[in-house]
Symmetry: C2
Subunit: 211 residues, 2 copies
């Protein structure tokens, strides 16, 4: 893992997107690419791309552009994509079920390895090939299945309690699909995806286009 404490957060958030596009270019057999071409493909302005890339060190050359293979190695290294990410789904309602069926089929490096739901037994039951256990055994099963990345899809009333348990287990973050604003220590990272809020914001922007 490279030292990266100097990379601004806004840049960091774009890393996976850069990585995906560089992968596409590489698979298409493209050897080098300009910030302008990247800008057109990604719809991010080229000044932002050049500024972002400057944080990664001298990866481009004037009049030549960026070497796609070098970028690929760099992003894979930074994002540690060589390691597989073991995802745990907590809460198997509608969304949880959809996640188990989907299970990142297109992504070799991401896999739901275990799931938890109060309607499942302590000794587990397979759903779409994923073992689902009662949350009473969450701590031991997280360890047994080497789960690292939890996705929280429980009812709102259980969200904080399950998060507290994740914090106590020394897990470092969660992808939160509940509408609950989780209370966590500074060392624990929460990413929230709230569909109602996304739609409401989108609707607001749609109604105010061009104003």
């Amino acid at each position: 893992m490279k030292e990266n404490y100097k990379i601004p957060q806004a840049t960091t958030k774009r890393l996976p997107l850069y990585y995906r596009f560089i992968q596409n270019f590489s698979e298409a057999g493209i050897e080098r690419i300009s910030s302008k071409e990247l800008s057109e493909a990604m719809q991010i302005d080229s000044a932002t791309i050049r500024r972002d890339f400057s944080h990664f060190g001298a990866l481009g050359r004037k009049g030549y552009g960026y070497d796609v293979q070098k970028l690929l190695v760099f992003f894979r290294d930074v994002l540690d994509d060589n390691e597989r990410m073991n995802v745990a789904v907590i809460g198997i309602g509608n969304l949880g079920h959809a996640l188990l069926k989907y299970n990142f089929q297109k992504n070799q490096n991401m896999k739901i390895v275990v799931a938890f739901d109060t309607n499942y037994p302590l000794d587990g039951k397979l759903v779409n090939g994923v073992p689902v256990f009662h949350p009473d055994v969450m701590e031991e099963k997280f360890e047994e299945f080497h789960a690292e990345l939890p996705i929280l899809t429980v009812p709102a009333r259980s969200a904080q309690m399950m998060t507290d348990r994740l914090v106590a287990m020394d897990v470092k973050g969660v992808l939160n699909f509940t509408p609950v604003r989780l209370q966590v220590p500074d060392t624990f990272r929460v990413h929230t995806i709230d569909l109602s809020i996304e739609l409401q914001t989108l609707s607001y922007f749609m109604r105010n286009v061009g104003k």
Copy 2:
């Protein structure tokens, strides 16, 4: 609808979140609230809240705080939450199915009214109470069901084509669950939720906590 062209985009994105918290406070019978209390509940720093609220006009008074009912009326007005939002789901795979089952049960102002998928007939078929039609009749059914907000959950290969049709229908935006970077005119708004990218970013932050 208020004039709001002066509100910065970062503030705009927080509007639905403010609205939800103000609703909670109102339902709890709280009449007034300080920026500090809002800050603690929402985990947004109070300087940001005061700055955001200053864009909405003089809504608070020093030493008194904000009147919850006035805020509620204000946010409802700005977000047009008096109107119901009619959502259309395009693509009924795993995620599309989960969305139809979920259908914003907790949210009276948001409702999936129609859906589209190539595996469904031209004259439609009900799934969880929502009529699902073949996309060949998307244009007429959008109008018939007064759909405004499309959610795109089609396979990646169909994403741009369906978006082009939405643009041609004069729809103003889309919530994009596909990994495709959609090409759209400036007047069309795209919000993308890419689960792989969310997880990869989260994982990156988790591995770099405290560094």
